[in-house]
Symmetry: C2
Subunit: 480 residues, 2 copies
């Protein structure tokens, strides 16, 4: 570009916001300092107006501080494996009801894996004799659906919970509330990825007859003395050991394995009812599945976040959940309402033979871990996850730094080594997400978009901004 002859002297400019101005200054030989800035409300004027009304509201600041204090004070203890006979979730036992991940979604709008998993669950429960009959029942409204989150529970990926499935039972002993999650099936063909073949059903039956009873024996050992197994202790240690306890659980699974095994070893003599072969099968299954702890991490986080829910005026997100079609948020001060938007596609690395076009939109309740400060919020703790999910170690650190911009405080109970042991980001504030335009990062497995294929990769995804914008408008309407 030719130098502008009207300028007798090179300009010296401070530019705020729009980068486009910079070129014209430098092209004319000027010097320039550029400040990154955008209008509040992610540049949408009505959101900016709502934000202005909610900024500096002392009722909100106090409520968010209280929500974060509850997150920090939480003590999620694995206290039991709930078997069918234990009668938890009685609503599921008498009726044909399936729980699924994420906000509500009807049969027609469900993604492929959700369809596949639903069919699998109907077969697993013995409500239909084959896939065709199961599909017909589901289509015709003979099966009811509800959300895991409405039953104090969470489920990974499709997140199906049906009446017979054994459930991890976690009590937040600081506040008394209880949360549930199913057991992790391993990788490959699993119901959580929409697979529903005989081997998937057989594995779930084995959970009922072998895995869950052995785990129950482990967790109930000396329960009066121990109060169970401290999941937050495992999660916080694992952050020092390369896990973010969402997409990487290698250390947490090993620590969990040690806790379970020493409890079992204390009992495996001839006077107990422990079946040696069952113990062997159980330990072998856990040792070969480095994501086994994920479902414990999720139940722990659900127990943590439910105690921070229901605080009037709090704008802290207490649930982030995806059904494979939409992503939904719940907000502490906004009751049971879901704020939803279309799910994005996860980006990452794909297993050989698969590609981005095969990916199902973001799915699963596992983003409860981010909501509690793990996963994407704690990505800096897990450089090794980049080997699986893509990106560089610098990216991992940068993601955690970004998350500080949209959270209320730092959690002193959870240290991120790569950030000089700073506390993990704590309490995603709807206002800050809208204000900064920074969307929370979720580390996630990637499911094939078709039912029954299974996991095809791992990566990251951002939660859609529209869900926060909707929440902000609803908050402003309710609180003002």
């Amino acid at each position: 570009m030719k130098k502008n002859s009207l300028l007798t002297q090179a300009p010296s400019v401070l530019n705020i916001g729009i980068d486009g101005f910079n070129d014209s200054v430098t092209a004319n030989g000027g010097t320039l300092a550029s400040i990154q800035w955008q209008p509040p409300g992610n540049a949408a004027p009505d959101l900016a107006w709502q934000l202005a009304q909610l900024t500096g509201d002392e009722r909100i600041e106090a409520a968010n501080a209280e929500a974060c204090q509850r997150i920090i004070n939480a003590r999620p203890m694995w206290e039991d494996m709930a078997l069918r006979a234990d009668g938890v979730m009685p609503e599921l036992k008498g009726t044909r009801l399936l729980l699924h991940a994420g906000p509500p979604v009807g049969w027609r709008d469900m993604c492929g894996p959700m369809h596949g998993a639903m069919v699998g669950a109907v077969l697993y429960e013995g409500w239909a004799k084959d896939e065709a009959e199961a599909t017909q029942m589901l289509k015709s409204g003979q099966i009811d659906f509800a959300q895991c989150h409405d039953f104090n529970s969470v489920g990974p990926m499709t997140g199906i919970i049906s009446a017979s499935m054994p459930l991890i039972q976690v009590r937040n002993t600081s506040y008394g509330n209880v949360a549930y999650c199913t057991l992790n099936e391993g990788i490959g063909k699993c119901m959580r990825f929409g697979a529903n073949g005989p081997e998937v059903i057989a594995r779930l039956k084995w959970f009922e007859s072998v895995l869950a009873p052995v785990l129950k024996t482990a967790v109930r050992h000396n329960f009066d003395k121990t109060g169970g197994i401290d999941l937050k202790a495992i999660q916080s240690q694992a952050l020092l050991m390369g896990d973010e306890v969402h997409s990487r659980n290698a250390a947490s699974t090993a620590l969990f394995f040690m806790a379970v095994t020493t409890n079992l070893a204390a009992q495996w003599n001839s006077t107990t009812h422990l079946n040696a072969d069952h113990v062997h099968q159980t330990l072998d299954f856990i040792a070969k599945n480095s994501q086994f702890f994920l479902n414990y991490s999720m139940a722990s986080c659900k127990a943590i976040m439910d105690a921070a829910h229901g605080i009037p005026f709090s704008t802290v997100v207490t649930a982030t959940a995806r059904n494979g079609t939409e992503t939904g948020l719940r907000v502490s001060g906004m009751g049971r309402e879901w704020f939803t938007a279309k799910s994005d596609l996860p980006q990452g690395l794909f297993f050989p033979g698969f590609k981005q076009a095969d990916a199902c939109p973001d799915i699963g309740d596992s983003a409860i871990t981010e909501t509690a400060g793990f996963g994407g919020c704690s990505f800096a703790a897990s450089p090794a996850l980049t080997l699986l999910a893509g990106g560089t170690v610098d990216d991992a650190v940068r993601y955690s730094r970004e998350m500080y911009e949209i959270t209320v405080t730092k959690n002193p109970a959870l240290s991120l080594p790569a950030l000089d042991f700073a506390g993990a980001p704590c309490g995603i504030d709807v206002r800050k997400v809208v204000d900064t335009g920074i969307r929370p990062i979720v580390t996630t497995g990637i499911a094939h978009k078709d039912a029954g294929v299974g996991q095809i990769g791992a990566g990251i995804v951002r939660v859609p901004m529209e869900a926060y914008s909707k929440a902000l408008v609803a908050i402003a309407t309710k609180f003002n």
Copy 2:
């Protein structure tokens, strides 16, 4: 300082080496670029001469490449627990011989913990009825001493190996050589820190009767099929999980625990000879001792480094070992000769009630881990170690970067996440240490200088330069 009036124009200077010149330039308004440089040989003229003779010697370059290839190719497999009845190290069985850590040292020159441990070993073997008699026997030459390293073995801290102690047996299946180490005693009062009371002796007896037999059952399970337990696989995974497998072994111990337990679980039914209570005691002991894997890491590294020893013209260090008085090096091309210097005092964090003045000089064979590329070389992998040993996360990363300056290559089998998964520093080259003046960093436990007190802290220590200088002179003399 007043501006020098003789200068009509501000000087523009490039300064190489000595920082002192910089002030006079800047004080006179000059601009300055300063290059860090020091003469080769760490500024000692005769060493510089020796170095010059050894620089670019193709025989040395080829030999060092071969040594590093052997380090990289090593496959250390835990193949057995050698019990007394197995008859390994027959030299120890018929005579009153004790092996100790580090280079040779006489009774008079031994540090407090070494004295304490020697007395303890005599009592443990039943050669004396009490401490006084044991001390008299040791003083009067009725007990022979030798170095662990001369028996294909290594020992942590005082490193005592006596006839009855069960030994971890590791085979480097790539080269066929075998290495040994004792089992880890835990923290607190331990023989490796010079403690020798009844509880110390009782624990070692329990190793013989319970711990070692159970571990032998574990490692020998399906041995024909498995070839044992792959220690380098555990070490390399642990580098992704916050361990440097010298002073921090939380992840490696958990991974080891999983491997041992699944092998045991496969056997604990009524038809085997496994004692359920012994299994419980064993697993409990390991689960409560996050440094249990250290001794396995040491045996693994000894098996790795022995295969890289004995290559003519190689200047790669194959052993770094401390007896609490002196630190000694062995060099691949220099046979069994030790190059020694007075040990430095470790610096770090002390347990409550202890201080720097209580510290024993650097002690133990565990620096074999640094020699193989772990520990201080891989400090970047273990930010969490700074919580125990002091320093910052930046320090940890910087230490690993420094170690690249004095090593031959990078080990592609060992990745350091914080350095974007760069291979760990591989093959400490005597020439490079002398040339750069950078002394290898060792991560280490700190023993009390008096016998019987035990561990009082953890930190880091640098290997004394004099040992490398001596080695360099000997190398130059031999090779030229």
